[in-house]
């Protein structure tokens, strides 16, 4: 069975060929059917361009994109069986919610009664049954988001693209929507591809994800792989927070002369631990404390769970960790 989306050496360069801006640079990517796939990265890393390459609003300057095995290089957006939930939702302001949702069916020529029935069905799925006659302007942010979702899903796309789908929502609503999206995706079995700059969102929702940096994929894998075994300093730093250890420090801790990553929550107070130095700051986190110490000129952070005895600032302490917590990175 072919993959839902496949990138083969895809590039999207802008500007003159002599000095191109490489928004996406020679990306290889395979998204399996039925996956909940996240594209994570800082702004300008190329993740949104990748999404637009799938929907067809950008065309690759090199390489090939396949959707369910079919080359889409000659297919415009409106003929791709792929739908998008836009970042600002892009609801049609002059149509009511029902017409917005039924729009995709209308332009494909479905009779009015049938498309309205389907639209209502889809609105029920996103808990907006009673809102069909409202205009988008009369809805809250969360409701608009769900209309955008219903409007895309009613077309039964083979791939649903979501561009920062939760970015405009407040924290509580965002967490509720995360669960809702996840369960919706399981129920419908449609491949979801979503773009986000929020690592928590990517880690908690996706079943596999790609981390983008400067137009390239820095690492691709499951959330657990990305978190525990970051391949590069960029990934270790961008996904979660991490102590990045230069080769000399790694070596002094018993590892090879390579960069390593040490997650703060893996460190604990240990009188015989290998990391020693004075405490420079203590910060209360609610679920614990964050302690900073200076080990031979390097700042090291540790997160101690609530209830642990806290050292005084300025005192010398030692920290230890389980051997497997020290993650060695291959990157030079």
């Amino acid at each position: 069975m072919p993959a839902a989306v496949e990138f083969r050496a895809v590039s999207r360069h802008f500007g003159p060929a002599s000095a191109p801006v490489k928004a996406v640079d020679a990306v290889d990517l395979t998204i399996a059917e039925g996956a909940f796939f996240a594209m994570l990265g800082p702004s300008g890393s190329g993740k949104t361009t990748c999404l637009r390459l799938i929907s067809g609003f950008e065309s690759p300057t090199a390489g090939e994109i396949r959707i369910f095995g079919q080359d889409v290089s000659a297919t415009p957006p409106h003929l791709r069986n792929v739908n998008t939930v836009f970042q600002d939702y892009a609801l049609f302001p002059h149509m009511n919610v029902r017409d917005n949702v039924a729009y995709g069916l209308m332009v494909k020529g479905m009779p009015r009664a049938k498309r309205y029935a389907k639209a209502e069905e889809m609105l029920a799925l996103v808990h907006l049954d009673a809102y069909g006659s409202r205009k988008p302007g009369q809805l809250s942010g969360g409701q608009r988001q769900r209309v955008a979702l219903a409007r895309a899903l009613v077309n039964e796309p083979r791939v649903l693209l979501l561009d920062e789908p939760l970015g405009a929502l407040d924290l509580k609503l965002r967490e509720a929507m995360q669960d809702e999206l996840k369960s919706l995706q399981k129920r419908l079995g449609i491949t979801f591809v979503f773009v986000t700059h929020d690592q928590h969102e990517a880690l908690s929702m996706a079943d596999s994800l790609a981390v983008f940096n400067q137009g390239k994929i820095a690492q691709i894998g499951t959330p657990a792989e990305i978190y525990t075994q970051p391949k590069t300093r960029f990934v270790a730093d961008f996904v979660g927070s991490s102590n990045l250890l230069p080769p000399t420090l790694t070596q002094s801790l018993g590892g090879p002369a390579k960069w390593a990553s040490l997650r703060p929550e893996t460190l604990r107070l240990d009188a015989n631990g290998p990391i020693a130095g004075p405490v420079t700051a203590i910060r209360y986190l609610g679920a614990g404390h964050r302690i900073s110490l200076n080990a031979h000129g390097h700042d090291i952070a540790a997160i101690l769970p609530a209830g642990s005895a806290l050292p005084e600032p300025g005192t010398e302490i030692r920290l230890g960790f389980a051997p497997e917590a020290l993650h060695i990175m291959d990157e030079a």
């Binding site: 959707i67 095995g69 297919t75 415009p76 003929l79 791709r80 069986n81 083979r158 791939v159």
Partner: protein, 311 residues
């Protein structure tokens, strides 16, 4: 199982695909008709104007001689033609100044203090006179300025006719009645172009953040100091932008000097009369080139002063 690609079903689908693959094609299709129109009809006409200004007229037959010559331009330097140009420029400058002074309180109030309903009142109050019929406005002033009109009536009623007569007795700008004097002409010009000055001025003033004025007051500046050192410099781009309109419009107008005033000639009138009754199209064209040149210089200066941001 549905496929990932829908087939193109109609010509519309195929055309959409074509536009998607070649976005420049759609752009070209959209731009061609308007550019053809403006390029051929408008630029073509401007070229024709320029061309004819280099022709001359045969003094005996009155026919246009289609041969390149600078003779026609030399004619502009004759005293009576030179006077026309100077008179037009002076009037344009005076009108621009008059508009700027009258416009300021309106623009300032509308930008800073008018809120809610009053904002709408001011907006419509400026917009309606701007767009309402030019000729009707001029006509209204013909009624106002007439010897038997409302101004004479008002001065009689308030026993101030002495002042009016004293003003009319002034040399050069005075005259037999308001409607046959430069003062009257100046009033009509100022009235007709005033909204063109108010709008860019208001736009420039609206961009002055209130906090900046408060900061100035906070630092101990008096109202007058705040006005001179903060408001006025920030309003300047708007004034210059507005002056582009008032200056250009006055310079090219030939209706008002024809209806109000002492029948002294202005550039616009000269163009109209030369191409019409006099039949001297080359000289008319050469006259018409002057406002173009002046405006080009004016626009270049205004651009340097940053006035285009206020448009």
């Amino acid at each position: 199982m549905m496929t990932a690609i829908f087939p193109a079903r109609s010509l519309a689908d195929r055309l959409t695909t074509l536009f998607w693959r070649k976005p420049k094609l759609l752009l070209a299709l959209m731009l061609t008709p308007p550019l053809l129109w403006l390029g051929v009809i408008y630029l073509g006409s401007l070229a024709a104007l320029l061309l004819q200004s280099f022709y001359s007229i045969d003094e005996f037959s009155g026919m246009v001689v289609p041969e390149f010559t600078l003779k026609t331009y030399a004619e502009l330097l004759r005293p009576q033609n030179y006077d026309i140009i100077l008179r037009t420029l002076l009037m344009s400058a005076a009108v621009t100044l008059g508009c700027a002074i009258l416009a300021f309180p309106i623009a300032y109030y509308a930008a800073r203090f008018a809120k809610g309903r009053w904002k709408a009142v001011f907006y419509l109050g400026i917009m309606l006179p701007l767009w309402s019929s030019y000729l009707v406005k001029v006509y209204a002033w013909k009624l106002i300025l007439a010897k038997e009109g409302i101004i004479t009536w008002a001065t009689d009623a308030t026993h101030t006719s002495g002042i009016l007569n004293a003003i009319l007795a002034l040399p050069v700008i005075g005259g037999n009645s308001l409607s046959t004097s430069y003062i009257g002409m100046f009033a009509v010009f100022t009235y007709v172009w005033l909204p063109y000055m108010i709008l860019p001025m208001q736009a420039a003033l609206e961009r002055v953040p209130t906090s900046m004025l408060e900061a100035s007051q906070d630092l101990g500046a008096t109202r007058a100091q705040t006005f001179r050192t903060v408001i006025l410099p920030l309003a300047m781009p708007g004034v210059i932008a507005g002056s582009i309109f008032t200056f250009s419009l006055t310079m090219g107008d030939y209706i008002i000097p024809q209806i109000v005033g002492n029948s002294a000639n202005f550039i616009g009138m000269a163009v109209y009369q030369l191409q019409g009754t006099a039949g001297n199209i080359p000289l008319a064209a050469a006259f018409a080139v002057i406002p173009i040149l002046i405006m080009l210089v004016y626009l270049a200066l205004a651009k340097r002063a940053g006035a285009f941001d206020a448009l």
